[in-house]
């Protein structure tokens, strides 16, 4: 999903910067608010960021024959919401842009929008919807992470088609969807599974923090066994 350095006309770079910036600023304020209210949630923010760091560093093979990487944005989105996750995504994307020439500084706004905003927003909405529908936590987390990953790549394909609608927007979209979205399908499934595993682990170890973050209400007697 990394749009390479210089591969968006400057007007689009500016546009995506302007769209992403307010969300990231709001995310920084949110982090301050959450950690002031629940200092115990600080390590979990670090873990969510670290999860994104690990997953986005892994280039994995797909059935289409090309390689891509998961995003890791589902965990942060479910635990802390999309705005906080956008800040975590910026950290990851800056690291990759500066040290790996992966993505870029000019395309940082666009890449933040896909991996840090659209993906997490989708994940967050799906998670809430599954919860309201009375589905189990694991199923909610799986679909949140799965669709968070996939929508990130659909967004990248859409961004490129908007910037390069040649010959038409639809034809460009089909072209970029084949490159990004199809390859991503099996990776997104794997990301969904991995996110459920780490989430269950956090839930087992720190149900109290998750309860404070209003992610789930634990059965009455906590701590006992």
């Amino acid at each position: 999903m990394h749009i390479m350095e210089g591969f968006l006309p400057w007007q689009w770079c500016l546009f995506w910067y302007l769209v992403s910036l307010p969300v990231v600023v709001y995310g920084v304020i949110q982090i301050k608010k959450i950690t002031d209210k629940n200092p115990e949630s600080k390590p979990l923010i670090a873990v969510s960021g670290a999860f994104m760091f690990v997953l986005s560093s892994l280039k994995l093979p797909s059935v289409t024959g090309s390689c891509s990487h998961p995003t890791g944005n589902g965990l942060g989105a479910v635990l802390f919401g999309p705005a906080v996750t956008s800040v975590l995504a910026v950290v990851t994307l800056v690291f990759q842009a500066l040290l790996l020439a992966h993505g870029g500084i000019t395309t940082l706004g666009a890449n933040t929008f896909s991996m840090g905003i659209v993906g997490p927003v989708v994940a967050w909405i799906i998670y809430k919807a599954c919860k309201n529908a009375g589905l189990s936590l694991s199923i909610g987390i799986f679909f949140a992470a799965f669709l968070g990953d996939l929508s990130t790549y659909v967004t990248t394909a859409t961004q490129l088609s908007l910037a390069f609608p040649i010959p038409t927007f639809t034809e460009a979209l089909i072209k970029f969807m084949i490159i990004f979205a199809f390859t991503q399908l099996p990776l997104a499934i794997a990301e969904g599974l991995l996110t459920v595993v780490i989430f269950d682990y956090i839930k087992k170890l720190r149900p109290d923090v998750l309860e404070k973050l209003e992610i789930f209400t634990a059965p009455k007697a906590i701590g006992g066994k």
Partner: protein, 98 residues
């Protein structure tokens, strides 16, 4: 770790093993296992677009790139392992003192 989680991790391994079986014996010369991010570049350049900005710094070789990717994964894994390990030990200790 629950049985459910072991099965899920097993499924993850299978998902990533399938491409190796499907394209066994093929490599980069056959256009396989290349990065999707990079393959968008030529498609864009086909439209006549010229990138207007170059990366400030690029890993000088494939080895260095691998080094930095490994570093990225290691930093992340370290943070996850540290805190989950800390939580696990803390929980055990609290149970003991109860």
């Amino acid at each position: 770790m629950e049985k459910k989680h072991i099965l899920m991790l097993l499924a993850v391994v299978i998902i990533f093993a399938i491409p190796f079986l499907l394209y066994s014996g093929q490599g980069e010369e056959q256009g396989k296992f290349a990065g999707a991010d990079a393959s968008a570049g030529p498609v864009i350049e086909e439209t006549g677009y010229k990138p207007w900005f170059e990366p400030i710094w690029e890993p000088p070789s494939g080895e260095i790139e691998t080094l930095i990717f490994a570093l990225q994964a290691a930093i992340g894994a370290l943070i996850i392992g540290y805190f989950l390990g800390y939580y696990t030990a803390k929980r055990k200790l609290m149970r003991k003192t109860e």
